[in-house]
């Protein structure tokens, strides 16, 4: 549906047309007729621009036949006025509707000065240089952030309260109890998968009972910590980045700073501590769920009894191996909290930046989890 906001819409829409007249030597009159709106198809101004040659000294307009107009007419006129200005032709705008004249004046008012140009193609060397500088800057930010966390920990150890206890308990509850359902599901299924993969191979040797060893060791040493780490990275790490990122956008973090409250101590430390404490517990829980999941396959496919399976699994695991999984989980917790909060604090001030921070927090967490896992395993088995 067509809306014609300007002048009185009493006539039907006529096509926009201009005609050129030369009332006297050196004079050119442009007569505008019809409906010049965003929904019409105004004529090509090329003829008109070509007609503004050396012979023309003065340009006039008439708009008696103009029925409707909007910004479409204005950009047409702007093009003509620019050309006329360049060719030093005197323009008389008296024949244009008053609204058009006013808008043209308004658009020609002194604009804000453009202080710098934000775009434009740069040389390869410039871009490489910028990337390197950005990398250095990022390294500096990570170092500063780590330092601030250490200072906050020192403050905590010195008996100060950098954050509210209530916040801390909320984070504990959210990442601990709140994560139990999803951790149960994933860990049990991982146990089932491990058990199933092992069962097919070990059955060939008649060594079905060792499926329990495989599942037990697999969960306790690796999968319990790894799977709960990955789940928490997605569930909690991402939400930390989004929370802090949004606070950055709303200048809430600046508000804390100006009150002399360390945002790292107040916001970051309780989150990291909560993850550091809860991830080992989740890991233990995941270990148990995984072994139970594995035992389902043991009982249904391998004709083992539940007691037999669990006993065999228990015998295969040493306490130090159990501790190894818990240690890993604790490290993962710190890394997830670190990555999530770092990305949140680095967030820019736009909706897009919050999204990027969240994505980046999850990706960074998972990379850190896998890298640190290999590193710890290497150190322990050297």
């Amino acid at each position: 549906m067509q809306q014609e906001p300007h002048l009185s819409p009493d006539t039907g829409a006529q096509p926009p047309v201009f005609t050129l007249m030369r009332p006297g030597p050196g004079d050119l009159t442009v007569a505008l007729t019809g409906s010049w709106t965003l929904h019409g198809h105004p004529p090509d101004p090329t003829n008109l621009l070509a007609a503004l040659d050396q012979t023309v000294r003065r340009l006039y307009f008439t708009s008696d036949g103009l029925t409707h107009w909007d910004t479409r007419l204005l950009i047409f006129l702007t093009a003509i006025l620019d050309t006329a200005g360049q060719r030093q032709i005197v323009v008389d705008r008296a024949g244009l509707p008053p609204g058009v004249r006013r808008l043209l004046t308004l658009s020609e008012a002194v604009p804000e000065q453009v202080t710098y140009s934000p775009t434009g193609r740069e040389l390869l060397a410039t871009r490489v240089g910028r990337a390197v500088l950005a990398l250095v800057e990022q390294g500096r930010e990570v170092a500063t952030f780590t330092g601030e966390i250490l200072l906050a920990i020192l403050a905590l150890l010195a008996g100060k309260k950098p954050f509210k206890a209530q916040d801390f308990w909320y984070f504990i509850q959210n990442c601990g109890i709140g994560s139990l359902p999803i951790v149960s599901l994933i860990a049990a299924l991982v146990g089932v998968i491990l058990s199933f993969v092992g069962a097919v191979q070990l059955q060939m040797f008649g060594a079905q009972i060792y499926v329990a060893n495989l599942v037990g060791l697999g969960m306790v040493l690796e999968m319990g910590a790894l799977m709960s780490g990955v789940i928490i990275a997605g569930r909690i790490g991402a939400s930390y980045a989004a929370q802090l990122g949004t606070m950055q956008v709303n200048e809430e973090i600046d508000a804390l700073r100006t009150m002399g409250i360390s945002p790292v101590g107040f916001l970051v430390l309780p989150r990291i501590l909560a993850l550091m404490l809860m991830l080992p517990l989740l890991c233990v829980y995941a270990d148990i769920m995984g072994i139970l999941g594995g035992s389902v396959i043991g009982v249904t496919m391998l004709d083992l009894s539940l007691v037999e399976f669990l006993e065999q699994a228990r015998k295969s695991i040493q306490l130090s191996q159990f501790g190894q999984g818990i240690l890993k989980a604790s490290v993962f917790g710190v890394l997830i909290g670190f990555a999530g909060c770092l990305r949140g604090m680095q967030c820019g001030r736009s909706a897009l930046a919050v999204g990027e921070a969240t994505t980046s927090a999850v990706v960074t967490s998972i990379v850190l989890i896998v890298v640190s896992d290999s590193f710890i395993t290497y150190l322990l088995y050297r």
Binding site: L38, T71, G99, L103, L106, E112, S350
Partner: protein, 258 residues
């Protein structure tokens, strides 16, 4: 001059959040070409009234009519057709932060017209020059000052040459000079585009400078206490609350212009 034609008519409007009634029995008419001010203290429902007019919130009771069409009785497509004729300037600008100014202003044009990209680029450049931001096409909103962001948002609001312009606290967060310039710009655009303007504000300077008609909402009475030209209200209104507001608590009936 033709006699004033009603552009927006609000009849018996009750606004409520659940069972909590914010305002009831609102009756007023906005004529074509008016600069209509919705005024009142904080929290009385000014912005909510605006949200009822631009289709973001449904009335608990009563009607909002555009011309003769009862807005909330129409189906969604018909409502969209009406609201396409309106430009809205939100309190904080609400520019899309991931797009440049040019993309912000171009989006409604790309969405509702079939113009070529070159013509759209020309239109965008012209709209930005109207608000004094010529040459800022490639900037992101976060790279601008508060006042410039407001003006860029205004350029987006007028992208489709709207018949109705709605402003939510246009001068909030601006210095007095920028606020006055924005007022002048609104006046100028109203004159040239022939649009009907509805403004939510409690800035007295701006109310006296530009308003031709108004409604006064009160949070205690939970209804409107007065409607009419604010300068006339200042001279004639007997209601102590309205008078108190219009005289900034002094009770002296004289127009202060800045």
């Amino acid at each position: 001059m033709t006699p004033p034609a009603p552009a927006i008519t609000v009849k018996g409007l009750t606004m409520a959040y659940g069972s909590y009634v914010l305002q009831r029995d609102l009756d007023f008419t906005i004529n074509r070409g008016d600069i209509f001010v919705i005024m009142g203290g904080s929290g009385c429902g000014k912005s909510t009234l605006l949200r009822h007019m631009i289709g973001l919130k449904q009335p608990a009771q009563g009607t909002v009519c555009y011309g003769k069409a009862d807005f909330w009785a129409l189906n969604e497509d018909e409502r969209a057709t009406i609201i396409r004729r309106a430009g809205v300037l939100y309190q904080s600008g609400a520019l899309w932060s991931s797009m440049t100014l040019a993309e912000n202003v171009a989006l409604p044009l790309q969405h509702y017209t079939e113009l070529s990209p070159e013509v759209i680029a020309d239109l965008v450049a012209f709209k930005l020059s109207l608000v004094g931001l010529a040459g800022f096409e490639a900037f992101y909103p976060s790279e601008l000052s508060g006042g410039m962001r407001k003006r860029a948002a205004l350029a987006r609001a007028i992208a489709l040459d709207p018949d109705f312009l709605f402003f939510d606290e246009p001068s909030a967060g601006l210095d007095p000079i920028s606020a006055r310039n924005l007022d002048q710009l609104i006046l100028e655009l109203r004159e040239s585009l022939g649009a009907t303007v509805v403004i939510v504000t409690h800035e007295l300077a701006s109310i006296y400078a530009i308003a031709t008609n108004s409604v006064f909402l009160d949070s205690e009475a939970k209804t409107m206490l007065a409607t009419g030209n604010p300068k006339l209200l200042l001279r004639e209104c007997a209601d102590p609350t309205v008078l108190n507001f219009l005289t900034r608590g002094t009770g002296q009936r004289e127009v202060r212009t800045v």
